[in-house]
C-alpha cells in the first residue's frame, strides 16, 4: 500500500525538514488518531497550566497565611501524624498504572490479546484505586477537617477553592480515562482489535493503535499529577 519505508527516511534535522516540506503527511507514518491526541494534549496542557499559574498567582498575592500542606495532608498512623502518606500512596499507584499501560501497549502491538487485555484492565483498576483514594482524601478534608471551597480553618480561603478545583479537574480526567480503559479492556477481550470490528458510534474500524492513543492520554494524566503533586503538596 505504501512506499514509505520508515527506516530508510533520512534522519535528524534534515529528515525533519524534508518531512515537513513534503506532500501528504507532515508526521510520516503517524496515525491520524495519534497525531490528534498529541495536539489535544498540547491544548490540555494549556488548560492545566492556566489552572496552576492562577493558583501560583493567587497564592503569592493572598494576604492571609497559606495553610501548611504537610500538616493538612497528614494521616495519623498509630498516633503519629505522617505527612503526605496518602498522597505518596496515590502517586505510587498512579505512576505504577502508567507502567502497566506501557506494557498493555507493547502487548497490543504484539497482538497478544490476552496479556494486552489484562494490562489494560490492571491500569483501569489502578486508576480506579486512585480515584477512590482521592474521594477518601476529599471526604476527610470536607467532613473531618472542615475544608470548604469558600473557607477553611487553616488560613487563606483560596486554599480549599484551588485544591478542590484543580484536583477535581484532574480527577475528572482520571475518571474519564478509567471509563475508557474499562471499555477498551472489554473490546480487547472481545477481539474487536483483531477483527477490526466497527465502532458503535463512529463506524470506524478498531485497531490496536487505539490502545497507544489511550496510553498517551493516560501518561499525560499521570504527568499532570506530578506537577499538581509538586505545586500543591510539596510547595
Amino acid at each position: 500500500m505504501s512506499d514509505i519505508n520508515l527506516d530508510k527516511l533520512p534522519g535528524g534535522f534534515k529528515g525533519m525538514s524534508e518531512d515537513i516540506g513534503s506532500d501528504q503527511t507532515t508526521f510520516k507514518g503517524v496515525n491520524w488518531g495519534k497525531a490528534m491526541m498529541w495536539i489535544f494534549l498540547l491544548s490540555d496542557t494549556f488548560v492545566f497550566s492556566c489552572f496552576l499559574v492562577a493558583y501560583m498567582k493567587v497564592r503569592a498575592s493572598v494576604v492571609e497565611p497559606w495553610p501548611y500542606p504537610s500538616e493538612v495532608f497528614a494521616l495519623e498512623v498509630m498516633g503519629v501524624p505522617v505527612p503526605l502518606l496518602l498522597i505518596a500512596i496515590m502517586t505510587f499507584v498512579l505512576i505504577t498504572s502508567s507502567g502497566t499501560m506501557a506494557l498493555a501497549v507493547k502487548y497490543g502491538y504484539e497482538k497478544n490479546k490476552k496479556m494486552c487485555g489484562w494490562f489494560v484492565l490492571l491500569t483501569a483498576i489502578g486508576g480506579l484505586t486512585f480515584v477512590g483514594m482521592q474521594a477518601f482524601e476529599w471526604s476527610k478534608l470536607i467532613f473531618h477537617d472542615g475544608v470548604r471551597p469558600w473557607g477553611n480553618p487553616f488560613g487563606a480561603e483560596q486554599f480549599g477553592a484551588f485544591f478542590f478545583m484543580i484536583t477535581g479537574f484532574h480527577g475528572t480526567h482520571v475518571s474519564i480515562g478509567v471509563i475508557f480503559l474499562f471499555i477498551f479492556a472489554r473490546k480487547v477481550f472481545r477481539g474487536d482489535f483483531d477483527t477490526g470490528k466497527r465502532g458503535y458510534f463512529t463506524t470506524m474500524k478498531s485497531d490496536y493503535v487505539s490502545i497507544e492513543i489511550l496510553g498517551l492520554y493516560w501518561h499525560f494524566v499521570d504527568l499532570v499529577w506530578v506537577f499538581i503533586f509538586a505545586f500543591f503538596y510539596l510547595w
Binding site: D23, F27, M204
Partner: protein
C-alpha cells in the same frame, strides 16, 4: 532557495530509481508524484434524511450548518447594535431602552459578534467547507467528532440565546465580563444571565476543540499526493494557524469561565477581593480581579488573530484569483501568518494598560505589540503588489477585497496609536477604541466574509449571486461602515467616553451632537443594507445564473471536483494529484491565463511556471 534545490534533488533521485526499476521507457517522467502513503479514507455514508442533513458527518454540510447558525447569531447581534445606536443617537425614544437593557445589549452584541459569529463562521464555516476540498481530502479525518463539534456549538448558541428569556435577562457586564462587577448584584443579569454566558462559552470551547483537532490533523496528515505545505492555498494557512491559536488560547477562556462559575455558584474567591456593600463585608475575600483580566486577554488577544488570520488567508486567494496574478511573496505571506500567530501570545497585556500595572510591564507589551505591525504591513504590501499590474476584474468579490485592505489599514494604523502606553492611557475608554477595533476586527473581516461568500457561493450552490445587487450591497456597506466608524475617531479625540448609556449632558458631546446622530442613521442604513444581501442569497439560490464548473477560472482544488456542487467524498473515483501551487495565473507561455493545480508539467512544457 535551498528548499527548492532539495526538492529538485529528491525528485531527480526518485526519477532515477523509478527509471531504473521500470526500465525500458528511457525518458525521465517529469510528471512523477510520490505514490500514496495512506489507504483510502473510510467514510460513513448517510442514508436517511437525518444522517444526511441533520446529524451529518460530511464536512461540507457541517460547514453550511455552522455558517447558517453563525449568521443567525450575527443577525441577532446586528439588531442589538441597531437598538444601541438608537439609544445613543436619539436617547429615550423607546421606554424599554433602559440603562440595564442597554448594557445587556452591549455585552451580548460584543460576545455574539466576536465568538459566535466571526470565530464560528471563519473556522467552523469556511474551515469545514474548504479544508478537505482545498487540500484534496475526501472529508475531515474524524467526521464523527466533527459532527459533535457542530452540535456542541449549536447547544452553546441555544444556551446563550436562552439568557434573553431568563429572569434578570442576559448579563450586562460588557463582553469582557470583568469581575467583581460581573457577578455582583447591581449589574444586570448577575444571576442567571452571567451563569448561562459562562456555560455557553465553556460548551463553545469544548465543541470547538473537537472541530479544531479535525482541522489541524486534516491539514497536517491528510493532504493529497503532491500537496506539500508550501503548495497549500493561503486560505488553508490562515485557517490552520488560527486553529492552532484557538487550541492554545481557548483553554484560558475555559479556565476563567470555570473559575468565575465557581465564584458565582459556590462562593469561592478566585477573582473576588474583599468587598464592602452597604457597610457590610460580603463573604468574598482576598481574590484577584486582575488575574481574570490576564486570563481573559490571554484568550482575548489571540482571539483577534483567530478572526484575522483566516481573513488574511482568504483575501489573499480572492485577490490573486480576481487580479489574475500570482500572490506576491507567497513564502513571505506564509511566514507572516505564522509569525503573527506566534507573536499574538505575547501581547495580551496591551489591553490592560489602565489596570494599574507596572510601566515596565507595559513597555514590554508595547514593544511586542508594535513588532506585530511588521509582518502585518508586509502582508498589506504584498496584497497591493499582487494587484499591481494585474488583470483586475472589478466584480463584487474584488470590491470587497479592496474594501478590506482600506478598512484594515485604517484600523491597523489606529492600532499603532493604541499600542503605545502613553497614547493609550488617555484614549482608552473613549470612542477611539470602538472605532479602532470595529475597523480592524469588525468591518475588515466582514468584508472578507462577504467577498468569500460571493466567491464560493457558486461552488456551494452551483449558482452565481446577482452582481448588481452585490454592488449595491458593497457600496452601501462600505461607505456606510466608514461613515459610522470614521467619525468615531474624532469623538474619541474630543473625549467622548465609551460604554455610556447616555451622554448628552456631558460637556464633551455638545459640539458633536449632529455627528452622533449621523453615525446612528448610518448604522441603520448599513444594517438594512444587509437585507439586500440576504435577499440576494435567497433569490440566487433558486433563480441565480447557473455557474457551471470553475466560474472564476481558479486554480485551487475546490473548483476541480467532478461534481459541482461537490458530493460526499468530494472526488469521485480518484483523488486529485497536485503538481503546482495554487497561483499560476497569467503565466508567460501558457495557453490559458490559469494553470490548475492538477495540471501535470508535461502539459505546460512551454510555460514559465514558478518552481513550487
Amino acid at each position: 532557495m535551498s528548499d527548492e534545490l532539495n526538492i529538485n534533488k529528491k525528485k531527480k533521485n526518485q526519477i532515477k530509481t523509478k527509471s531504473s526499476t521500470a526500465s525500458g521507457r528511457g525518458e525521465t517522467d517529469i510528471d512523477y508524484v510520490r505514490p500514496a502513503e495512506l489507504p483510502e479514507q473510510d467514510l460513513y455514508h448517510g442514508h436517511s434524511f437525518i444522517t444526511k442533513w441533520i446529524f451529518c458527518q460530511d464536512a461540507k454540510v457541517i460547514g453550511i450548518q455552522y455558517t447558517l447558525t453563525a449568521v443567525f447569531t450575527g443577525v441577532v447581534g446586528l439588531i442589538l447594535s441597531w437598538m444601541m445606536r438608537m439609544q445613543l443617537g436619539f436617547p429615550d425614544l423607546f421606554p424599554f431602552l433602559t440603562a440595564e437593557t442597554y448594557y445587556q445589549m452591549v455585552t451580548m452584541h460584543g460576545m455574539i459578534m466576536v465568538v459566535y459569529l466571526l470565530t464560528a463562521l471563519f473556522l467552523g464555516g469556511f474551515g469545514n467547507y474548504l479544508i478537505p476540498l482545498m487540500v484534496g481530502a475526501r472529508d475531515m479525518v474524524f467526521p464523527y467528532a466533527n459532527m459533535i463539534s457542530f452540535w456542541m456549538f449549536f447547544v452553546a448558541v441555544v444556551v446563550l440565546m436562552s439568557s434573553f428569556f431568563v429572569p434578570g435577562g442576559p448579563t450586562g457586564s460588557g463582553w469582557t465580563l470583568y469581575p467583581p462587577q460581573a457577578i455582583l448584584e447591581g449589574t444586570p443579569g448577575s444571576g442567571y444571565g452571567i451563569l448561562l454566558m459562562l456555560i455557553s462559552l465553556s460548551l463553545f470551547v469544548i465543541g470547538f476543540t473537537m472541530g479544531g483537532l479535525n482541522y489541524v490533523i486534516t491539514i497536517l496528515q491528510a493532504r493529497t499526493r503532491g500537496m506539500s505545505l508550501m503548495r497549500m492555498p493561503l486560505t488553508i494557512w490562515g485557517i490552520f494557524t488560527a486553529t492552532v491559536l484557538a487550541l492554545l488560547a481557548f483553554p484560558a477562556l475555559l479556565v476563567s469561565s470555570i473559575m468565575m462559575t465557581l465564584d458565582k455558584v459556590l462562593g469561592t474567591s478566585f477573582f473576588m477581593p474583599t468587598i464592602i456593600k452597604a457597610g457590610e463585608a460580603l463573604s468574598y475575600d482576598g481574590g484577584s480581579p486582575i488575574l481574570f483580566q490576564h486570563l481573559f486577554w490571554f484568550f482575548g488577544h489571540p482571539e483577534v488573530y483567530i478572526v484575522a488570520l483566516p481573513a488574511f488567508g482568504i483575501v489573499s486567494d480572492l485577490i490573486s484569483v480576481h487580479s489574475r496574478k500570482n500572490i506576491f511573496g507567497y513564502r513571505m505571506m506564509v511566514w507572516a501568518i505564522v509569525g503573527i500567530g506566534a507573536l499574538s501570545f505575547f501581547v495580551w497585556a496591551h489591553h490592560m494598560y489602565v489596570s494599574g500595572m507596572s510601566p515596565w510591564f507595559g513597555f514590554f507589551f508595547a514593544t511586542t505589540t508594535l513588532i506585530i505591525a511588521v509582518p502585518t504591513a508586509l502582508k498589506v504590501y504584498n496584497w497591493i503588489l499582487t494587484l499591481w499590474r494585474g488583470n483586475i476584474r472589478i466584480n463584487t468579490v474584488m470590491l470587497f477585497c479592496l474594501g478590506f485592505i482600506l478598512t484594515f489599514v485604517n484600523g491597523g494604523i489606529t492600532g499603532i496609536f493604541l499600542g503605545n502606553v502613553a497614547v493609550d492611557v488617555p484614549l482608552s475608554d473613549t470612542y477611539f477604541v470602538i472605532a479602532h477595533f470595529h475597523m480592524v476586527m469588525g468591518i475588515a473581516p466582514l468584508m472578507v466574509i462577504f467577498g468569500a461568500i460571493y466567491h464560493w457561493f457558486p461552488l456551494v450552490t452551483g449558482r452565481l449571486l446577482d452582481e448588481k445587487l452585490g454592488k449595491w450591497h458593497f457600496w452601501t456597506t462600505f461607505l456606510g461602515a466608514y461613515s459610522i466608524y470614521f467619525p468615531m475617531h474624532y469623538l474619541g479625540f474630543i473625549g467622548v467616553p465609551r460604554r455610556y448609556f447616555e451622554m448628552y449632558d456631558s460637556p464633551y458631546m455638545t459640539s458633536a451632537i449632529g455627528m452622533n446622530e449621523f453615525i446612528s442613521v448610518a448604522a441603520f442604513i448599513v444594517g438594512a443594507a444587509q437585507f439586500i444581501f440576504f435577499y440576494n442569497l435567497v433569490k440566487s439560490l433558486r433563480l441565480g445564473k447557473p455557474a457551471g464548473k470553475n466560474p472564476w477560472q481558479a486554480n485551487s482544488l475546490e473548483w476541480l471536483t467532478p461534481d459541482v456542487p461537490p458530493t460526499h467524498g468530494n472526488w469521485g473515483e480518484k483523488l486529485p494529484v497536485v503538481h503546482r501551487w495554487a497561483y499560476d495565473y497569467g503565466v508567460p507561455g501558457a495557453k490559458d491565463d490559469y494553470i490548475p493545480q492538477t495540471t501535470p508539467p508535461s502539459e505546460v512544457r512551454d510555460a514559465e511556471v514558478e518552481k513550487t
